[in-house]
Symmetry: C2
């Protein structure tokens, strides 16, 4: 009665993994059910509130994690406090720099977040034993590198207006709950405050606020609550990205 026709081995895999996106789209897709069971003996699901620090820059890391729900921001700071967000991780992204002694970035929960934590050693042993897992993680790393480079263009060469439009476009295409890829518009909650968005775009929060107001005045977006944004026509937004 309790069988799932999509996966004949479903009964063999851990309960928590069955509905987890990492099982299909994330790193766990590289594991067979036996490996998944073995790994799950070391994993722990933890919930963090928005604002919690998950890993600190130049602090030793003792565990890796998969993002199961929510958004994690990766930041770097200069001595005088200037801050830059260098990456955003969404479910089912892998969190942590494989093989690194210490983190090169600070990881912080941008929204409420559920993580599936794995002790450092356990995952590294599994990676050493299973090249397919490293291959998966390589694919994600390459994707992150592509995203970082794409963002360097935004930081270095776009105007404030284009930066804010690019940010909204990024969010709209990454965490639309309806997930209907060919829908013309999107509605979503911003996972970041105005100050966070500024740190992501290399702007001040006042400039972010002004540009959002401008996009609203120009009817490109509607802001129905401080964190709630509706994009009627995604293509019109994209045109503003430079």
């Amino acid at each position: 009665m309790d069988t799932d026709r999509k996966d004949i081995h479903n009964s063999d895999i851990p309960v928590l993994c069955r509905s987890c996106d990492a099982r299909h789209k994330g790193m766990c897709g590289a594991l067979d059910s036996a490996e998944l069971v073995a790994l799950s003996r070391h994993t722990r699901i933890v919930r963090h509130a928005a604002g919690d620090e998950l890993a600190a820059e130049s602090e030793p890391t003792e565990s890796y994690a998969n993002v199961m729900r929510g958004v994690v921001k990766l930041t770097k700071v200069l001595e005088d406090g200037r801050q830059q967000i260098v990456g955003l991780q969404f479910a089912p992204d892998f969190l942590g720099r494989l093989f690194a002694r210490e983190s090169a970035v600070t990881a912080e929960a941008a929204s409420e977040v559920d993580l599936c934590r794995v002790p450092k050693g356990a995952l590294e042993r599994l990676v050493a034993a299973n090249p397919r897992l490293e291959h998966r993680l390589m694919q994600q790393t390459l994707r992150e590198l592509d995203e970082a480079r794409e963002w360097m263009v935004t930081l270095g060469r776009k105007t404030a207006a284009e930066k804010v439009a690019s940010f909204l476009y990024l969010i709209a295409t990454h965490l639309d709950p309806s997930a209907d890829a060919n829908a013309k518009g999107r509605k979503f909650d911003l996972p970041l405050t105005r100050g966070d968005i500024a740190d992501f775009l290399g702007l001040t929060l006042e400039t972010v606020s002004r540009q959002l107001s401008r996009l609203r005045a120009d009817k490109v977006i509607a802001i129905t609550a401080v964190t709630r944004v509706e994009v009627a026509d995604l293509e019109r937004l994209r045109k503003r990205c430079g």
Copy 2:
């Protein structure tokens, strides 16, 4: 007579590989002499003049390469022509995005460059057969990601003066020919024109020129020829990086 005590199998490896940095510090360090011989049957050393385009954005790539000498710049452009350099590759870096159908960036020789080209299929077969090779490439990809994120801070949060100082510091620590890591100063040739530096830093070439003049006036650097820079005290330069 012709033996090299550092490597008893030296006579087994291809002539061209013996003096190649990639053999030790680059991806070829993951290969044994038999694999190296097999791979070398597919490789071809090619020399490119400064300015040559090595791979184009959104064009299919048919080969990978190792940089043996010189500097390669990776760039992205917006429709209206605004350009951003998103990475610099030095010997013995690997060139190309593994498994990708087409390049996400344009690769261009910044100086005269020697490449060791490998056909796409040949390398991918070798990667599939040898997990240690993928591991090596993973390490380089992670390093590139770290560098990209470090650079995002520079692009997003530093002033023009700090950006130029950061660029000089990067070059000084990456391609000093004397390679004496604990020397107090450095002398080097800039591998990029003022315009290229501007595209790397998200500035105009005029601003780059002004900031270089300012650093010279402040005696942080000496400019003995247009491309020739001498840094007497690396630490003083680092202090200007923000």
